[in-house]
Amino acid sequence: MTEAEVWKALAEIADPEIPVISVVDLGVVRDVRIEQERVHVEFTPTFLGCPALAVMRDAMAEKVRELGGEPEVEVVLDDSWSTDKITPQGREKLRAAGFAPPTPREAEAPKLVQLQSNGFRCPYCGSRDTALENIFGPTPCRSLRYCRECRQPFEQFKTI
């Protein structure tokens, strides 16, 4: 078993809440190291209250077992994951599924005026004429916006 094989297997795990994207596309796998039978996976959670975390962690351990390894999934509780870690392919998959991908993280924390501005594109028609409906949405990682152009509500990934 090689590290590349582990990465490939982990890339088959879908995000439990947004199944169009894999945990590797999501950027939550920080590192894979193999020491004999033991496979050490560093997992950086997205939002700390996300109920999908335990599901992802268990799915990673299961994949490693399927490859014949002994999993050691370490949950890293620091600031190393950000929405900037979502891969370009991952962002495109999100957009295609109707989730507007996150805007890039900036040095300064986001401000209300920014969220209320027209910097966010509708994933359906591409218009920037969109309005903030709710900072919060159906999961911790998403906000709700409305496209005035195609009159479609959509979910916007929060930048963190």
Partner: protein, 190 residues
């Protein structure tokens, strides 16, 4: 108790109890968007509590669940601000505004800690709290001229730094919060 564990417990207790109080708006908020918002904020706060308890549990040789649910009400060290059941919207928003301000200051301090674990977790939590602050800011602006909101801010402000108040409301909440867990023998796997 170790100094770091004590600090972690204070913050974790704040976040857990506030999370429970915020979740009381699920289904009864004044409009649907706020139902979603307070439910989501509650979920985040409980998630922060879990991460903080996990770190404390490692220092104390126990588990996050035991710290969250198996202590007696008088052992919690949260702020009196989060203990209260506030079924009035203006008081809930006032608490939200006051808590987010105090929490922002606390997180800013922790982010510069020389304890890398603590600083890293604080930075992670802070990224999420930004959105709670924006939500609080939006409401503070909307209600700024409302006498009931102003009165609620004055009423609740002194409670922010008051800890170990052991208010009857915390004991009542604890009773509800832990009743299912206490219905089974200690050490039960859920």
């Amino acid at each position: 108790m170790k100094e770091r564990a004590q600090l972690l417990l204070e913050i974790a207790d704040d976040e857990l109890i506030l999370g429970w109080r915020d979740s009381e708006w699920t289904g009864i908020a004044p409009f649907l968007e706020e139902d979603v918002a307070f439910s989501s904020i509650a979920q985040n706060e409980v998630g922060h509590a879990r991460a903080l308890y996990e770190l404390a549990a490692r220092d104390l040789g126990t588990t996050a669940d035991e710290l969250a649910f198996d202590r007696k009400p008088e052992e919690y060290c949260c702020s009196e601000l989060v203990e209260l059941r506030l079924p009035e919207w203006e008081r809930t928003i006032a608490r939200h505004v006051l808590y987010e301000q105090a929490d922002a200051e606390r997180l800013a301090r922790l982010k510069t800690s020389d304890d890398a674990e603590l600083a890293g977790l604080a930075a992670k939590i802070d990224r999420e709290e930004v959105y709670h602050r924006l939500h609080a800011e939006m409401w503070a602006e909307r209600l700024q001229a409302e006498p009931r909101f102003i009165a609620a801010l004055d009423e609740l402000r002194p409670l922010v730094d008051r800890r170990k108040g052991q208010s009857p409301e915390l004991a009542e909440l604890w009773d509800e919060m832990t009743s299912v867990r206490r219905s089974q023998p200690a050490g039960t796997t859920w």
